[in-house]
Every structure is written in C-alpha cells, then in structure tokens.
Symmetry: C2
Amino acid sequence: MSDTAKQLGRKLSAQEFSDSMLDNAADYYRGIARAYAETENVIAVLSDLRTNSSYVYYGKAANMLAIDTAKARRQIPTIWEEEIFRIVHPDDLHRKHLEELKFFDFVSSLPIDIRGEHYLQSHLRMLSKSGAYVTVRHRIFYFCNASKGSVRMALCLYNIAPGMRSATEIINSVTGETIDLTEHDCTDILSHREIEVLRLIEQGISSKQIASLLHRSVHTVNRHRQNIIEKLRVANSTEACKVAKDLGLL
Amino acid sequence: MSDTAKQLGRKLSAQEFSDSMLDNAADYYRGIARAYAETENVIAVLSDLRTNSSYVYYGKAANMLAIDTAKARRQIPTIWEEEIFRIVHPDDLHRKHLEELKFFDFVSSLPIDIRGEHYLQSHLRMLSKSGAYVTVRHRIFYFCNASKGSVRMALCLYNIAPGMRSATEIINSVTGETIDLTEHDCTDILSHREIEVLRLIEQGISSKQIASLLHRSVHTVNRHRQNIIEKLRVANSTEACKVAKDLGLL
C-alpha cells in the first residue's frame, strides 16, 4: 500500500469513526475499482467488510458473460456478489471461497506494513452468454487498515482469459515472486477450543449442552460460535462445519 | 472505455478547450495511474500526448530496480520517461519503441468506439538494484478521445515478473483474445509520398532539393517531414530514418 493509502488509513484510525470519514474511504477505493473496470474492462467488485456492502463495476467483459448488466445491481447490501456467483461453476465457487479464506489467513499472518504487497490469482469457469463455460482470471486484493492491519476492503477482479492454465497462486507484486496457495498452512484459522466447540456443534449438540460439557457459560460458547462464523466468513454453523472440513480443520 | 470516460471525452470535445477542462481530464487519468501503482505496486507512467508531459507513480516494485525514487522526478516535461528508459536493456528499449508505434498504428486502425478494448503486453529486461537485469512485464493502455478517436493519454505499467516468457501481444480485454503483434501489418504508417520524401532525406538531400525533385514547394516538403516525425514519434529526421528502416518501411 502506498503512502497515500497509509496516510488515509492513519487518518481514519486516528479519528473517532464518523460516517463521513468512512464514506470518504469507500469513495477512494471505489475509484480504484472503477479504474480497473475502465482500463482493463474487467468486472470489479469492491466489498467493504466493515459495512458489509459491495459495489460492482461492470467493465465491457461483462457483455460476454451471462449477466444482464442493465438489470444487475451496482450496489449490494452484502459482501457476496450474487449476480456473479450464480454464473460461476459450482465447484469453482466452492474452491474460490476456500481460497479467499486461506488468502485472508495468509495476509493476516504478515507484518502489517507488507500486507498490501500480495494478491491472489486463480481461474474460474464462468457461464458465457452462449451458455458455455469460459475461463476467467480472478484476482483478489485486500486493502488493510494501515495502523491496525485489519482487512477493510476486498477488491475482486474478473476478466476473460481463455488461455489461462496456471494454479492458484499468491503473487508478491513488489518482487514478482509467487507462492503456491496449497503451501500455506491454514490450520491455525480456528483455535483448539473453537475446533472443539465446532465438533460438538456438528454432532447436533446445543449451546447449553456444550457449555455443560466444557464447563463454560452458554455466553462463552455462543461467543465461540460467533467467532467461528466470522473467521470462516460464513452465514451459520452448518456452513461453518462444511468449510472447516474442507480446510482440514475438522 | 466506459461510459464515464466517454462522457468525459464528449464533454471535453464539445467544449472549447480551456486549460481547466484539460487539467480535469489529466487529473482523472492520473487517478487511474495512481490506482495501479497502489494496488499492484507497479511503476505507472501516464503520458499526456497533448501537453507532451508525463506523471510517474513509483509503486513499491520500484524499490527493487535501479531507480532512486527519492530523487526521481514525478512530473516530466516530455512523454519519454528517462528515469525508467535508462535502466531498460538497450535492445529492449529499441524494441519497446517499435512495438509502441505498431500498437499505436493498430489502435488507430480500429473503429473509434472499440479503441479502448485493447492493450499491449510485452516483457523488458530492466536493471535491478543488484546490477543484474530482471524481467519486467510491460503493459501499454491508450486512452482515446471518445468522439475523435485520437490517442490522448498513454499509460505504461511496469511490474517485476521473473517467470514471464510470452511474446509481445495485443490483448483484447473484452474477449480475452490475443493477437501476435508481428501479425499486424504497419506498412501503412507512412504514405507513399512520405516514404519517398524520407528516402531522399536519408540520402542527405536538402528540403529545397527534394522540393525541386518532386515538383513541390519547400513548404510542402517541410510539412511532410514534420508529419513523418510526428507519426513515428521521434525527435528528428535521423531518428525517423532509423525507425522507418526497423519497421520495414524504407
């Protein structure tokens, strides 16, 4: 992340959070998303993790895909861009979700000042206007809060790339080095206690019973449950179990 | 190019040219250059072909190259970015210049409304801090005036890409299709008359003598000379002869 973005981040975190300040930050990153859509004709989705909302910029490449851009929404009250997800091959959509999580974990494992030096690149099959799947290059950039290091914004770019064959990789955009995502160990995403709780949830045991089994309060168990859901970026406990299994955590 | 950029272009061309209007357009495209430098850590050079000036944004990748970014200029009164050119391998710099010209010719051969759908991608050897050459991915985007189609701005992006091996190609960013640049015939860059004039210039014949040989006025010959220099984007007639030869025009 550049000095300007750092400065913006510092400014934001130094102030009390007022809505106008946060709107400015969103404007700033929306400008970046728009720049990509206009220059490279990509579909650019900017997700604001704080407000749980997204902005979609349909570059001209969207015309080739099975998206009715005239009807598609530009602003979405969630970080999940359904208009795009519904045309991604189901197997790839699941893989995309896991890769995003792993990348999130990878970025969080880095020192704060170099979190902006990496992006994820993968390929997805997406439904074209003609009804066939085409290969799409998918890139994810995370913009972090400069002082606290938390991921504030995620930028997903989609462009049609018929010849693309490479594996999912993390690219260090400063040195050009690449890291195979499968080499990143993400068994630390959940704590031992959280895994313990999730195993019991999976068995259909209620929070009250789990609390009793672990000699903890129901409040504590529910807090674990909430943390698990947030860490795995899913909607509920059932999805959390599925994702944790795919990550090899359960 | 998106609707916003088109609108901007229309606005600009519909008005009488005032300096403030043009400054706004430059601001707009500088925002795009900055977005790339911040998101992908690239070196981004935005050249304004109308005012013959450039703006350079040194993303973090510049730290790996033999550029003293603290001393390097951010604004240059020319479209040629010397700070960067001096660290490009001389053979690649010459090739870059020819490719840029061919791509310029290619873009100009397209219908106006699709000129923003292509970019050029090549690789260059650039001098790293350690004194060795590293492979750099080089992309060129031309932003055209939406109503007149003339290239207004050129955006060059440089990022370190050690594994890059592919040939120079024109990429259609809407469809993902690629065109080998060598397949583009650029023998039409100069007219027959211009080639005739350049052949005589190469032989050391003066404008006055050329005028006499071709039964034209000295004024007309000088106009041809100026057009040749502009079309080949060189500084003088000597360079024009060299570039025209490399393009196979002489």
